[in-house]
C-alpha cells in the first residue's frame, strides 16, 4: 500500500528517529523507533499534533517485549502506532503518564501482565492482578504456564 500524506508528514517530522515506517492499510501506520526516543516523540504527537491516545499494547517476542503506543489522528482518519522493543529479562522504559494522564492504567496493566517497568510512573501499583498473585509471574508472557491448564 502506498503511503498517505500523513505518513509522509510523520516521516519528515521524525527524520532519523523513525527507523522504519510501514503502512499495511489505509488507516494503519506503524513507525518503529528506539525506546529512548519514545518519550520525546509521544510528547510531540500528543501536544504538538493533537493526536488522541488510544492505548499501549505489549507483545512478548523472542528476547524482549515489544511495546506499541497507539494514537488516533481523528481528523486524518488514521491510527498511528509507535513501535519499540525493550530487552528481557528486565524490560524497562520511560513512562508516558506524566505527559498523558490517560496512560496511567494501561502502563500499570502492562507492568502487571508482562513485567515492563515504567520509569517515573506516578503510581506503578497492581491494577489487573490480585494482591496475592506471586511476584515475577507474568501471565501474558508466552512462557507462562498456568497452574491448572484446564481452568
Amino acid at each position: 500500500m502506498s503511503e498517505t500524506e500523513l505518513a509522509g508528514e510523520l516521516r519528515t517530522m521524525l527524520g532519523e528517529a523513525a527507523l522504519e515506517i510501514r503502512q499495511p492499510a489505509r488507516n494503519n501506520i506503524f513507525i518503529t523507533v528506539k525506546p529512548e526516543d519514545v518519550h520525546g516523540i509521544v510528547k510531540t504527537l500528543w501536544e504538538g499534533r493533537g493526536a488522541r491516545f488510544a492505548t499501549v499494547t505489549g507483545v512478548d517476542v523472542t528476547g524482549g517485549i515489544e511495546l506499541l503506543y497507539h494514537f488516533v489522528f481523528d481528523e486524518r482518519h488514521a491510527i498511528v502506532t509507535l513501535k519499540t522493543r525493550v530487552a528481557k529479562p528486565f524490560p524497562e522504559i520511560e513512562s508516558i503518564t506524566p505527559i498523558i494522564p490517560a496512560a496511567e492504567w494501561i502502563e500499570r496493566e502492562v507492568h502487571d501482565l508482562l513485567g515492563v517497568k515504567f520509569r517515573n510512573h506516578p503510581r506503578l501499583e497492581r491494577l489487573i492482578l490480585s494482591d496475592d498473585w506471586p511476584d515475577g509471574v507474568y501471565p501474558l508472557r508466552k512462557d507462562y504456564e498456568p497452574k491448572d491448564p484446564n481452568a
Partner: protein, 396 residues
C-alpha cells in the same frame, strides 16, 4: 476543621451491579477525593484468544460484553481484514451497519432506563425498557439471538437477511421512532430532570481530552469524536446521519446525547435496510498472512480499539482489546470531586460503565470509624430523595 471520612463502595459497582471498588473521601456531604480499583473480574480473554483459531476468535471476543457484542467482534475482524488487505463485499458492510446500529439503540435505551431508575423516575425506566424490547426482538429476528449475535466473520458476515427480514426491520424502525421521539422530548422538557441533572458531574473538555475519553462521555463534553465519522467503516459513509455533540459535559447533556443518538441510529438503520445492494456476503479468506493491524469501532459506549498480530498460523499471536470503559471510568475522579454524595450515584452511572456482569452487591463498613455504611440501597435512596425534594418544590 472539617472531618474527613472514607466511604468504601464495592467491590461491586453500586449501580450497574458489576465488579469495581470505589473509595470516596468525604468531608460532610462533599466528595473531596476518590480512588477506583478495577479488575475483580478479569477473565483473561486476550490470553485465551491466543489459543483460538481465526474462525473461533469472533465468538470469543463477542463475549467480552453482552451489550456491545456486535462492536467487539467487528473491531477485531476489521483489524484482521486490514492485515489481509482485500475488499469486503458491499452487502456485508450494510448488514454489519444494521446490526451495529440496532445494538446502539437498545444500549442507549438500557442506559436511559437505568438512569431514570436511579434518580427515582421509574416511569422513564418503564418506558425506555418498553421501547428497547422491540429492538431486541428485531435483533433476534435477523441474527437469531437477542445478544451475542455471531453475525460478523473475517471477510464478511455469517448470515444474510431476507427481503422479509429487511422489511420487518424497516417497519420496526417506523414503529419505534415515534415512542423514542416522545420519550426524548419528555426527558428534555422535564423541569425536574433539568433541576436534577444539569450542572451535575461535569466533565470538562480539557479533562476529557487529558483522559482520552471516548463515546457519548466525550461528545457531551464538546469533543466531536465519533469513529463512525472520523474513520468510516461498514456503510457509515454511505448513509446520511449527524454526530451529536453537546458542550456542557454534565449528566443532562450525556442523556441528551444518547437520546438524540438513538434517533440518528434509527435513521441509519432505515437507510441501510432500504439501500442495501445485492451480491455476496463473504469474501471467503482462506489464509491470514503474517502481519499486524489495529481496528476500531464506535461501540455504544465509545470507541473500542483492537490490535491484532498474525504470525501466519491459523491463530492470532497477540490480541489487544481496549474497551471504551477502560478510558471512560478514570474520568470518575474528574467528575465526582466536589459533588455531594447524593449526586455520586448518577454521576457514576452517567458514564455507562460496562464490565462483565455480576448480579451481586457487597457492602463494606469503614473499619476505622465503624460508623458510615453505604450500600446500593443507601446511594439510590439518597439520589431519589434529592429528586423528590426538587419535585416538591416544583409542585409547591
Amino acid at each position: 476543621m472539617s472531618h474527613r471520612t472514607l466511604i468504601p463502595i464495592g467491590p461491586y459497582h453500586p449501580l450497574q451491579e458489576e465488579a469495581e471498588f470505589f473509595q470516596l473521601y468525604v468531608e460532610g456531604e462533599t466528595v473531596v477525593d476518590m480512588d477506583v480499583r478495577i479488575s475483580y473480574n478479569h477473565r483473561g480473554i486476550e490470553k485465551l484468544c491466543e489459543s483460538k483459531t481465526w474462525d473461533q476468535l469472533t465468538f470469543a471476543v463477542e463475549r467480552v460484553c453482552g451489550i456491545c457484542s456486535a462492536s467487539h467482534p467487528l473491531a477485531s475482524v476489521q483489524a484482521v481484514e486490514a492485515i489481509v488487505g482485500e475488499p469486503i463485499p458491499e452487502r456485508a458492510l450494510y448488514l454489519r451497519t444494521i446490526v451495529n446500529e440496532l445494538e446502539r439503540i437498545h444500549s442507549h435505551m438500557l442506559w436511559l432506563g437505568l438512569a431514570g431508575h436511579f434518580i427515582g423516575y421509574n416511569t422513564v425506566f418503564m418506558w425506555a425498557w418498553r421501547y428497547r424490547e422491540p429492538i431486541l426482538d428485531l435483533l433476534e429476528l435477523v441474527t437469531g439471538s437477542r445478544i451475542n449475535y455471531a453475525n460478523v466473520k473475517v471477510g464478511g458476515v455469517r448470515m444474510d437477511m431476507t427481503p422479509e427480514q429487511l422489511a420487518a426491520v424497516q417497519k420496526g424502525m417506523d414503529e419505534v421512532k415515534g415512542p423514542i421521539e416522545m420519550l426524548t422530548k419528555a426527558v428534555l422538557d422535564d423541569p425536574v430532570l433539568h433541576a436534577r441533572l444539569k450542572g451535575v458531574g461535569v466533565l470538562k473538555k480539557e479533562d476529557a481530552r487529558k483522559l482520552a475519553c471516548v463515546g457519548p462521555n466525550a461528545r457531551a463534553s464538546g469533543i466531536p469524536h465519533d469513529t463512525r465519522r472520523t474513520d468510516p467503516y461498514a456503510a457509515y459513509d454511505r448513509v446520511d446521519w449527524n454526530v451529536i455533540v453537546r458542550e456542557e459535559g454534565d449528566v443532562f447533556s450525556k442523556a441528551v446525547v444518547r437520546c438524540l443518538e438513538a434517533l440518528e441510529s434509527i435513521k441509519i438503520v432505515k437507510q441501510a435496510a432500504r439501500d442495501i445492494p445485492g451480491g455476496p456476503i463473504d469474501a471467503d479468506f482462506r489464509e491470514i498472512p503474517e502481519g499486524e493491524a489495529c481496528g476500531h469501532v464506535e461501540a455504544p459506549r465509545g470507541e473500542t480499539f483492537h490490535y491484532i498480530r498474525s504470525d501466519g498460523t491459523n491463530r492470532p499471536y497477540r490480541l489487544k482489546i481496549r474497551a471504551p470503559s477502560y478510558v471512560n471510568v478514570p474520568s470518575f475522579k474528574a467528575t465526582c470531586i466536589g459533588q455531594p454524595i447524593s449526586d455520586v450515584c448518577i454521576t457514576l452511572a452517567a458514564v455507562d460503565p460496562c464490565y462483565s456482569c455480576t448480579e451481586r452487591m457487597a457492602v463494606v463498613v469503614d473499619a476505622a470509624s465503624g460508623k458510615r455504611t453505604m450500600n446500593f440501597e443507601d446511594l439510590v435512596r439518597l439520589s431519589r430523595e434529592k429528586t423528590r425534594k426538587l419535585l416538591r418544590n416544583f409542585k409547591g
